[in-house]
Amino acid sequence: MTVSGGAYLALAALLFSIGAVGLLIRRNVLVMFMCVELMLNAVNLTFVTFARMLDDIGGQAVVFFVLVVAAAEVVVGLGIIVAIFRRRAGATADDLHILKG
């Protein structure tokens, strides 16, 4: 049995929406970070799906770039988050508004 491309795209759209809503409504920095990852991977899934549907290797190649960039972003992001946890007890994104110019 083969799953149709449309189902994959629907799943990707669902994952992306979960990520986007999570980013907007959650206050915990770590959770927000996970939401961003969720959105990124939803996009990756879209790319792979289209690559298979259109029989074009380009989509899969782009995914590799996204993975590499996401890995780099995780390193920087987690570094910042660890630095924040060292300074203060909780980790609410709103607490950090004191950093504005």
Binding site: L24, L96, I98
Partner: protein, 626 residues
């Protein structure tokens, strides 16, 4: 032979460059002889080119020698090229010829000056610029020469810049000329706009395609430029003050050559003027008014050089009267004869000043003919020529102009005739005050006796006196003898009217002009031969040149200054600076409001990003749907 024309400007340019590099090392007489040789070489090159041109026939006498591409931007394509035609070669002949003589004269006159080499450096640069002006094959190159002679004029008027008056006179000349140059520049813009080219060959033959409005605008603006350079009303005020320069400079630049550049320009663009008859009328009126105005002032001046300066303005007025009457040949004819006799008069005046140990006031001269025999003899030839006594040169050229002025309007002719009478009067007054009567200088100061000038100074005087006597022969008003007119014919339309051609009128006009000259001479003789003090004949208003300088000072210093202050302290401070500061303030306040967007809450930013994405998406969907 004709393609060696580039040598004509190359000689003085080489002389200039040599003087720049090694002028100080060459030292006193050497630098002068070097410069003189350079200009003499240029004169020889001009003669050779003239001979080459003379071999060609009629319409072929129009040779363009392109040297190199000067400016090429978009449609603007300007070459540095020489236009050899009868008009330019006639100008070049008398420019280089008179310049050679004046260079020779300067060797003696500038003897002992501490900036001797620099003087000749400037003179050579001037001759080069003047030759570029007359030989150029396009408006822009002519303008380059035009500005070059202006700069040299400035440098040479204020040559003795330690004197305050000389420095001020130089500035005055420069600033006044800028007013005219503005007209020249705008005219060039209009010409380029109308024809897409600045080459004479691509503009002048097609000038009848111009609308009369454009032609009138171009003609008037070019005439404004000519007014500045050739000292016509109302831009003449710099020329009398230009006499602060050394006398050879007055002779070369401010009498014989540079000031004729305006007349040359008008003759060069005569095809455009033909399309705009209104401009010709304006030129004729301004010329006649200037001629009369300057002549009245010359009647009451005491400075020997100032009389000649106002006389120059007056004679230039004659030339413009001729141009305005459509008699271009007559204008050129008078320009040539004037170059000879006015250069002669100035150089002779310089010899008098030299001999009198820098005394310029004619009231403190007198009886000098016994001490300066050569100078006085040549000066008297110049006097007869400018007064219009036959058969000297000035008679023929002035007569030609008056006859043509009659054809334009009898009023202009009458003004010209009165000016001729005044010319004879003030020149006779000058001759009597300087060379005849009692020796007033002995009583004034017990100085050494006046002495005759050295041979390098008297030789040019003698040559110029010869030319001033016979130069009328180049264009005698008889059918076969109008050599100049026949030579210039391919360039200038024939403007000889029925009137001039008919013999009886010609004789009548000549008789009236001669009578006017003789009356002027007789009046001056009866008034000045016994005494040098006739205050009733020298009213204050004329001595002060109709108070024009004072009026200009009062106008510019009073309301003009007020306007400038108003512009600076009200308009500039509030409107211009206000607009500038207002924009800055607007940006500052806008930024202050805008910074409130930065809250520091990540969710706000995320919401913004999400909303933006949705909007973009919606926009794309709507566009694709349509």
């Amino acid at each position: 032979m004709i393609h060696a024309a580039w040598l004509i400007p190359a000689f003085p340019l080489a002389g200039f460059l040599l003087a720049v590099v090694a002028g100080k090392r060459i030292g006193e007489p050497g630098a002068g002889w070097l410069a003189t040789t350079a200009v003499a070489g240029s004169f020889v090159a001009t003669c050779v080119t003239f001979a080459g041109l003379h071999q060609l026939q009629g319409e072929e006498r129009h040779v363009v020698d392109t040297l190199f591409t000067w400016i090429k931007v978009g449609h603007l394509d300007v070459h540095a090229g020489l236009l050899i035609d009868p008009l330019s070669i006639t100008m070049a002949l008398f420019v280089t010829g008179v310049s050679t003589l004046i260079h020779l004269y300067s060797i003696g006159y500038m003897h002992g000056d501490e900036r001797y080499p620099r003087f000749f450096l400037y003179l050579n640069l001037f001759v080069f610029s003047m030759l570029m002006l007359v030989l150029a094959d396009n408006f822009l190159l002519t303008f380059l020469g035009w500005e070059g002679v202006g700069a040299c004029s400035y440098l040479l008027i204020s040559f003795w810049f330690e004197r305050d008056s000389a420095a001020t006179a130089g500035k005055k000349a420069f600033v006044t000329n800028r007013v005219g140059d503005f007209g020249f520049l705008i005219a060039m813009f209009l010409i380029f706009g109308a024809f897409g080219s600045l080459d004479y060959a691509k503009v002048l033959p097609y000038s009848n395609l111009l609308t009369s409005g454009t032609a009138t605008a171009i003609g008037l603006l070019l005439f404004l430029g000519a007014c500045g350079k050739s000292a016509q009303l109302p831009l003449y005020i710099w020329l009398p003050d230009a006499m602060e320069g050394p006398t050879p400079v007055s002779a070369l630049i401010h009498a014989a050559t540079m000031v004729t550049a305006g007349v040359f320009l008008m003759v060069r663009v005569s095809p455009i003027l033909t399309v705009a008859p209104d401009v010709l009328t304006v030129i004729a009126i301004v010329g006649a008014a200037t001629a009369l105005f300057a002549a009245t002032i010359a009647c009451a001046q005491d400075d020997i050089k100032r009389v000649l300066a106002y006389s120059t303005i007056s004679q230039l007025g004659y030339m413009f009267l001729a141009v305005g009457s459509g008699a271009y040949t007559a204008a050129l004819f008078h320009m040539i004869t004037h170059a000879f006799f006015k250069a002669l008069l100035f150089l002779a005046a310089g010899a008098v000043i030299h001999g009198m140990h820098d005394e310029q006031n004619m009231k403190r001269m007198g009886a000098l003919r016994r001490y300066l025999p050569i100078t006085s003899g040549t000066f008297i030839v110049g006097w007869l020529a400018i007064a219009g006594v036959p058969p000297f040169a000035g008679f023929w050229s002035k007569d030609d102009i008056l006859a043509n002025a009659w054809d334009k309007s009898p009023i202009l002719w009458a003004v010209g005739l009165v000016t001729a009478l005044l010319t004879a009067y003030y020149m006779t007054r000058q001759v009597i005050l300087v060379f005849y009567g009692e020796a007033r200088w002995q009583t004034a100061e017990g100085h050494a006796e006046p002495h005759e000038a050295p041979p390098t100074m008297t030789l040019p005087l003698i040559i110029l006196a010869g030319l001033a006597a016979v130069a009328g022969a180049i264009n005698l008003p008889f059918a076969k003898t109008a050599v100049l007119e026949h030579f210039l014919h391919p360039v200038l339309e024939t403007t000889q009217h029925e009137l001039v051609a008919s013999g009886a009128h010609k004789v009548l006009f000549a008789a009236i002009a001669t009578a006017a000259a003789l009356v002027g001479i007789a009046l001056a003789r009866s008034a000045w031969s016994r005494t040098a003090e006739r205050p009733e004949l020298e009213p204050d208003v004329l001595q002060r040149a109709w108070r024009v300088d004072e009026s200009v000072s009062a106008l510019v210093g009073g309301p003009g200054r007020g306007l400038a202050d108003f512009t600076a302290y009200s308009v500039d401070k509030n409107v211009v600076d206000g607009a500038f500061n207002g924009v800055a303030e607007l940006v500052r306040r806008g930024g202050e409001q805008l910074r409130k967007v930065q809250t520091g809450y990540v969710r706000n930013y995320a919401l913004g990003v999400a909303a933006g994405t949705v909007l973009l998406f919606a926009y794309v969907v709507v566009r694709v749907a349509n």
